[in-house]
Structures are given as C-alpha cells and as structure tokens.
Symmetry: C4
C-alpha cells in the first residue's frame, strides 16, 4: 500500500482509457494524475504496454520531476508534465498522445480552425499549434523545455490554461489537461474528433469559413459558466 | 412505473443504437420518441453517458418544451425537438448527432449532392444544408429557433418533411426524423454513409455528375410508394 | 427440409460474411448461390436484417428470375443475378454490395487503375466501371437490364467473366462473382481494399503510374494458371 | 515435436498479431522467425487463413530457400525472406504485409517524408521506397530478386539494415524486419501509423516541412543508443 493509492488508481484508470478510445498505438501516450496537497503526481512508467500496467506501477514524481516513489522509470515525457503542474495550479491531470489526426495537424504546423459547434462546445478559439522548438531548447533539457514551449504559445495568444485545455506541439503531437485526469482524457478524445472533422471540412470546402462569433459564444456558454444548461 | 413507459423504452432503445452504429462520441447525440395521443415526447437527459442511461431516465416533455415528468434535465436540444414535433404531425422520432462526415458537410455549408443509388434509395434530392442562423436567432431562444431554421430551409427548397427525413444545420450538425425513433436512427446512419461516399466521390472525380433523373426516380420508387418492391 | 438445403446454407453463410467484413450497412447487400444441376439459385430475401436471416429464409429462384420456392420476396436485385447466371455458365455465386470505397469509384464513373501488386494478384486489368444505363433501360426492366449492362461493359473491353470477377456499375455500386459464393464474397472484400488503396495512391501522388506489364503478369501467374505457386 | 519448436511458435505468434493489428486482409501477409544457430527460419504456409494456422504448420526453410521441414508449401515470398536472412546477419524476424497506407505510398513510388516525432522515434530518415524492379528481375527469379532490390535501395541511400528496419518496395508493399519477429511486427504497425499520418499531414498542409535535424536526433536518441531513457 502506498499513501499515493488514490492518484495511482486514478492515473491507471485514465491511462487504460487511451487504448479503449483508439487514441494510442502500443505505448505512444501517457496520462498523469496530480495530488496537489502532497505536491506530486502519478504517471505511467515508460514503454510499458497498457496490458501490463497496474495502479502500483504508476510512478510518483514531484513537480520538479524528481522521483518520489516507484521502481520503474517514469514516462520520458515526465518533465513536461512536471513543468505544467508546477505553473498551472488548478489542473489535476495531463494527457499526451500521438493520436492520428491531432498529430497530423501538429506535423502540419497549423492551428485547428474553429469550424463548427462541436469545436465551440469545448473551446472559443482555434486550437493552437505551438511553433517547433529551437535547436537550443531541443538540445538542452528537451522535455522540460517542451513544457515552457506550451506555456509560451498560450501566452502569445493571450489564452489561459483554464480557457483552453488542449494544444498541439508543432512537429510533435497533442497535449491536453484538465481539473482531473478523466477530463484530460476526455479532452484528448474531443481534440482527435475535432481534428478529423476540420480536415474533412477543408476537403469538402476549401473556403469553409470560421464559425461566427455569436455561435461560438452561444455554444460555449451552453456548456460552461454561470448560465450553462448542458448536463445535470 | 410511468404512463409513458412505452416511449421511454422506445427512446432508450433508440438512443442506445447511436454508439453501436458509431454515430456518437461520449454524449454528442440524442434521440426522442413521441406519443402523439398524449402530446409529449421522451428524450435523453442532458450529458448523461450512454452506459448510465435507463428507460426511466428518459425525460417527458410536451410539444412546447415544458417538462411533464422526470427529475433529470432534458437534452439541451430539447426545444428543437419540440418545435419539430409541434409542426410536423406525422413524425414519431427525432435524432441529433455530430457524426463525423455529416458534420463535416454541415461545417462546409454545402448540401450533399446526389451522386448515386445509395443516396437515391432514400432521397430524391440533395440533402439540404440549412444556412447558418442569424446572430439574432442565436442570441435569442437558440434551440427553439434551430427548429424554425430547419423548417424554413425545407420550405425554401419546396421540400416536405415526409419527402426528406434528414438535414444538415450549417456550422452545426445533422438532424434526422421519421415515423418512429428507429426509423430516425436508421436515417442518421444512412446520412453518415452517404456523406462519406459523397466526399470520396468528389476526391476520386472532382467533376462527378449528379445522378440522372430516371435513376433517381427508379431507385426511390423501388423502396417507396405504391409500386415499391423492396422489403417484405 | 428443402431439396435446396445445400445452396440455402451456402447462400446464408456467404451473406453473413458481408457484415463481418464491413461491407454492408443495414441490408445494403446480397449474395446468391447457384445449383447448376437444378438450374436455380438461392438468394437473400429483400430488406431482411442480417441478424434475422436463416438458411431456410433464402429464396429459390430460377435463371429467368421466377420464384421456385420460398415465402419471402427475394432481393430486389434478383433479376440481375438471374441474367448473369443464365449467361455465365461457370459461376456459382454473385455478390452485390454498396461498400464504401468501391461505391465511391462507381459514383465517380471511373475504372480503378491497376497501381500495384495487391490489384495484380487478382486482376490483370483496371477494374472496369460500366457506364450509367440509358433512361430507356432504367425505365424498362431495370434490374434485368443491369445484368446486360454488366455483360456489355465486359464485352466492350474484351474481357471474359472468368478473367475478371468484379465490376463497378456507374452511379450505382459493385457486383462481384466467382465459382462459389465464398469466392464471390472474397472478391467483394478484395475490391473494397483495392478501391481504397487506389484513392490513397492518387492522393499521395496524382501522377502515380499504372503497373508495368511484367509485374502484372508475374503476380497474376503466381496465383493463377498452370504455373501458380501461391496457396496449397 | 520438431527441433524447430521454438521458431515455429515464435513465427506463429507473430503471424497471429497481423490480423489483430489490422495489418492484413485474408492472407495478405506473412512473418518469419530465424534460428541463426541452425541456419533456418520458420515461415507461414502460403495462402492458409490465419484462423487455420498452428505452430506446427510453420514451414522450416534454410537461408537458400530450401525447405528443411514441413508438408505445406511456404509463403510465396519465402525467397525474399531467405535472401535477407542470408545477408543481414543480425536480424531474427521479417514481416511482409499489404497494409493499406504503407502500400499506397509504395504504389505512389514515394519515400515517406519524416514529418514528426512519431517517425523520428523510430527512424532518422525518410522511409525509403525502393524503385520498381526491372522487367528482367521480375521475369527471372522474382522473389529472390526482390530481396536484392531491397538491399540495393538501402545501399544507394547509405543506410544499414540496423539503422532502418522498414522499407517500401515500389508498386508492391512494405517489408519490415528486426532482431526478433515481435520487433518486426511492431515495425509493421509503426510504419502503417507513420504512413497514414504523413498523408494526412500533406493534406492539411501541402508545404509541411520535414523535421529539423536537432529534433530527429533528440527523439531517436531518447529511444536508441547508449544515452536512451525511454522504456525500462
């Protein structure tokens, strides 16, 4: 028994959702779950197949990326998770995948235009694509710098991490987050869905217009904020 | 036990078909079933995952959108359903999804051209895309106005709701209907199939012609009308 | 018990393969199995869902399209099957589907170019697309004429029905055949696979060349003819 | 019992992974497993459906392509496997499939550009497409020559078989290899994933740039070489 039982179980459950949702091939993804009181998070061990995972195998790491508990090596993306937890105080879960359509947009260096209400139900803006990192950042502490690249890209677009919970890292792949690991996984699946629809939309009509402001506002407010009336 | 048992069961069964047919991600869809004698319909509660649904959770609403029975909040699209039931006296079921290909056409603001017999087996015309709604309609009673936008779009094309049982709402996603909820669900799956084939057709041949009139007539009449000879 | 037990079972088994292979939505397909000695074939009843089928429900029809045994109405495409059985003496099974990619090529009025060995393993030529039928043929005995349209298209290209076992009917969808119903179903799945790969090939390289003759010959002869060395 | 039990089991297990990973239709693929000490490999029998396979049915062949044990005819691609085992001393498994996206690139005669980290996690270069074979090679000992075509294509690009474990054969389809059959199967699935993402990337942005060198180096070294920190 570990005093981190709860986040280990939560990280395990969330990781196991990725193959069920068709978001990962082999081990190409990872989810972490944070315990804000203890100042740590539980994350998938690196390169371990999903069918061999168990809650006890989730590695406990602090917000500086130091291993606190666990015998396995944590995900190679651990430092990116650590940086985001350290700077974004209200998130409780982070997901990284190489899901097919979202990754294709990241490889294309394009933000995903807001074309419809499926997008607007979750975000009021285009889903940003952070520019590829500089050679210096890559050759330095790469995964640590990836966290900063994500934060800088949001800042440059005047977006807060509570406003938008998903991003593409140029050349690489998506990251999503949320108040809980479950919400972060939900965001990963939503992003993949939006990414596919946006490509199809441009194929059907290369001049398809972005969504009008009133509809963006309406759909977002149906689901979010004080006057929301979606859900229970 | 509710005196609305039958439509609750019917709405439940039809809702559960949506994930099986691959037409919804998470809770992005809803089906309703009408009881014309009682002047009410049963509809999916808002934001409740399909695996947590039960017939008893279906909310009973009248054709003005007023909740008649049920403790859960009905689908956020309830007023659209209500408007259509009120004005279209012969329909018994309505479906709304964000299925991938149909939604991409809606986001593209294009009607789906009739390219082949798969389409003609079900419709004699292009599947219309209602234009995006005006800012006034969106900022007003949005879901209520969506029902009128759908009716206006059919009227403008001189189409009756018994002639065509599916439509795209520009920027948004498809709605389908039918004499029963099962038929409305069937129409949703058919629409998604037609939408995918139409995109592929244009990709294979950007100058693919619309179907000739004689073939449209033949295939539709094989399945519909006094001389039909499809089915039992 | 019927004296047509064997072809009913064979037609049933082959029909049940269509949904398993992802080739049909709802009831959009049918398979028949011929008994050459008796001069009849067993075919799927019209519009009956696959899960409700049984061998005994397969309708027995002669090569002029006359029902010989069975209480259900046969597939609306029955006359097309009858014409082909009557004229092509060595085939024992026919399949019609609206499989997604093959149907998109048919709607595009294009033959499928032979781009690679997957294609050449099964055919030495482009998969022909029969031109859309004339208004007269459509308004006349439509399904009967569809059989002749298929035969004319092969004849025009100097192809025998033993050389190529698959065709697209322009505006409509594919038909495949073979010595047995199992082989005809196999051909349907192969056609769908080839159709998808050909579209993707043109998307990757709009100038992709057709396969060189020597490779067409080699791959076809590996699988077919006196010197074949594929299989057991 | 055969003294080749181990490689028969290994080849069987690896072959059975192909349909599970969605990489084959019917029998369009084969895996072999080598025993370097005995100088032989076990390979799938030709044209036998996956559901009818068993370890004992795997055919034992030496590196000159001579059958050593087994009553079934080996895969028609056996000589290609033999040539590669003979010349590449450190590989233990080979896979050939006609997986959809990789085959489409092969039919397009294009190498797959390195667009992102999913690619760079596994290869530092574009995935090469060997040019179509000459008429002479095809008319001669075709499958034997296919092995040489693969080796020549790597040589021409100054690539070693340990550097890159996957290739497209122009007009035909992919081959992959690895130290074990499991690794070769893994490479087949990775290749299919990369092939799909690369096509989507070009569709989203026809001018998408190849990955910068620093990121190629970083991602490859995370997973490979003395300083790797991926996995356990």
């Amino acid at each position: 028994m570990s005093k981190y039982d709860e986040i280990q179980q939560s990280a395990y459950d969330a990781n196991m959702q990725l193959p069920k949702l068709g978001l990962v091939l082999f081990t190409f993804g990872n989810v972490s779950a944070a315990d804000r009181t203890a100042g740590v998070f539980a994350i998938k061990p690196s390169g371990v197949p999903y069918e061999d995972l168990s809650p006890a195998k989730m590695v406990i790491v602090d917000f500086d990326g130091k291993i606190v508990e666990g015998t396995l090596r944590p995900s190679s993306d651990t430092l990116t998770h650590a940086v985001l937890y350290k700077h974004w105080e209200k998130i409780g879960g982070i997901v990284h995948t190489h899901s097919t359509y979202a990754t294709a947009w990241a490889q294309s260096h394009r933000s995903i235009p807001i074309f419809g209400t499926t997008h607007a139900d979750h975000n009021t803006v285009d889903i940003p694509c952070a520019p590829p990192m500089s050679d210096e950042m890559i050759q330095g502490n790469y995964e640590y710098e990836t966290g900063f690249q994500i934060m800088h890209a949001l800042k440059e677009k005047n977006l807060g991490y509570e406003e938008i919970e998903m991003i593409l890292v140029g050349n690489h792949a998506p990251f999503t987050w949320g108040k809980t690991p479950e919400k972060a996984v939900y965001n990963s699946a939503v992003l993949e869905c939006i990414a596919q629809m946006a490509l199809l939309t441009e194929q059907i009509n290369p001049n398809a217009p972005r969504l009008q402001d009133s509809l963006i506002k309406k759909h977002f407010e149906r689901k979010h904020g004080p006057d929301s009336y979606y859900g229970q």
